[in-house]
């Protein structure tokens, strides 16, 4: 990557790290919430559904501000977590938190669709054969939704790579710390002569986004085939 300057490389590396952790940490929650929404009927299900989708609909700057209020140094959760050594404010971990929350709805939607494609009768069959609920999930549901889970994760990763509004509002734009790829593009465009660097980062963004989309489409197509058992 010789044609990238050190600042640009730094931003790319940071974005990859932020997105990787954002995806990995949210994935178990994503699977759980998707399963709950697809399979369980409980009071507050619509509220949960709405909460999950909120980051998709709210202006990202609002989400970022809410994160700042909650997880900032003065925020109620931020103060508690800071005492056990977990700090989000103005750290790359904060960027990962913001990216994870913004990507969460996309992840849940993809996984939920694949869970809904699994016939609950197969899960019942697993139960009658002596498998406790968690084992049914591990041996029947999870293998069948795996393509959907992977597709959801890729989509979430791509979304996290592109997250800007909530990130810059929550953790600002500190080079080497919270300056992710989109933040760097924004920063380069603010200074005279920064267009070339911005353009290079834009190209990389497009490649990553397109690649992720194609990959998730490809894997998504295999869900149907897999559930149909061919």
């Amino acid at each position: 990557m010789g044609w990238l300057g050190p600042d640009e490389l730094e931003a790319l590396r940071l974005s990859l790290r932020v997105s990787f952790w954002a995806t990995l940490v949210t994935l178990p929650f994503g699977i759980f919430v998707a399963y709950a929404l697809a399979r369980w009927r409980f009071p507050g299900r619509q509220v949960l559904n709405g909460l999950v989708h909120l980051p998709l609909i709210l202006p990202p700057v609002v989400t970022g501000y809410l994160l700042l209020l909650t997880f900032g140094l003065q925020g109620p959760l931020g103060r508690v977590l800071a005492e056990v050594g977990i700090v989000f404010a103005f750290r790359w971990t904060g960027a990962a938190l913001a990216a994870g929350i913004m990507a969460f709805p996309l992840m849940v939607r993809a996984i939920r669709l694949s869970i809904e494609a699994v016939d609950p009768k197969l899960e019942q069959a697993g139960a009658t054969l002596g498998a406790p609920r968690l084992m049914v999930f591990a041996t029947v549901t999870l293998p069948m939704i795996l393509p959907g889970v992977i597709a959801g994760a890729i989509l979430a990763f791509a979304k996290a790579m592109g997250e800007f509004g909530a990130t810059i509002t929550f953790v600002s734009n500190i080079p080497g710390q919270t300056q992710t790829l989109p933040s760097a593009v924004y920063a380069f465009l603010q200074v005279p002569g920064g267009e070339a660097a911005a353009t290079r980062l834009v190209v990389i963004s497009i490649i990553i986004a397109m690649g992720a989309l194609l990959l998730s489409e490809f894997i998504g197509r295999r869900v149907a085939a897999r559930v149909a058992g061919s």
């Binding site: 016939d119 009768k121 197969l122 019942q124 069959a125 697993g126 139960a127 009658t128 054969l129 002596g130 498998a131 406790p132 609920r133 084992m135 049914v136 041996t139 029947v140 293998p143 069948m144 897999r226 559930v227 149909a228 058992g229 061919s230």
Partner: protein, 365 residues
Amino acid sequence: MSLSVRLQHDLPHIKLDLSFDAPSGVTVLFGRSGSGKTTVVNAVAGLLKPASGRVSVDGWELFDTEQGLWLPPYKRRLGYVFQEGRLFPHLTVRQNLSYGRWFAPKGARRENPDKVIEMLGIGHLLDRRPAGLSGGEKQRVAIGRALLASPRLILADEPLAALDDARKGEILPYFERLRDEVSVPILYVTHSAAEVARLATSVVALQDGKAVRHGPASEVLADPSVAPAGIRAVGAVLQVRVSKHHADGLTELDAGGTSLFLPRIPHKIGETLRIRIPAQEVILSNKPPEGLSALNVLSGTVDTIRAGDGPGAIVSLQTTAGPVLARITRRSVDALGLQTGMQCYAVIKTVALAPHDVGGRVNQS
């Protein structure tokens, strides 16, 4: 006593309220669709929680709403053969078969997998996936999967309903072998009189959520007032012995001293079978019939004459082979002057004895 069921549950269209105690062997729940059969099976399996009731298998309680006892499905140790098979599409046949074994308790009575695979004739399918199997093959694998889970009770919910007639004929013998060779009680749901006649040790006839009749197949199927699948299901079930295979393609059966002929069946000479004779395929004559093409004539005395709602009547004959039923018109009853105690002849066309009404070996019980 092997299976004891008491259930009350409100369904959208009917009120389920029944109780029966079944001996070991095959208990058939017989009724038309919507009579509540599947609800009963699902309650036994724990897939549905009834309003109240109690079910036990060999004294082992699955649930008792009075005591607040409710075992979740995975603790009930049942083998459920579903109508649609419900094989796991992402697993091979071998993995499907061993699924239940992973979870069976260590001390459980185990079937030998090789023996089960051999009995069901699925050895050549082990490495395939369910999507590549025919309907009949899927059901055989489903039976094997249920059996290998070391169940205390096998449930079968219309396991043949999704198959065509040829495939039905292919699967039924496996349930007969299950009944005769494996000592697991079976609760079997169907609306087919032929399956009842072949499989049932005892029959529970369901109508609108109630158990209207409970007894051996020959009794329940002979009663037109409870025949759940309509008048066509009414018929006699006779126990016969294969006596000879003739060169012209017929097999001769010995029914209590009288010979019956039917198109060649594969069973060995000396084997004991059950055959069902549908009442509507029987003609009555008050004189020994002559000059008829039909080969099968059973003589007997008229036992009962039951007039139906329409123009029909069901006449029951006591013959040396057992009771035989005939569905004829009331006009014919009058024309023949039929009365209880009168000598009479039942004529059955050979081809009316359909192969799927002929069962395999029968436990002498």
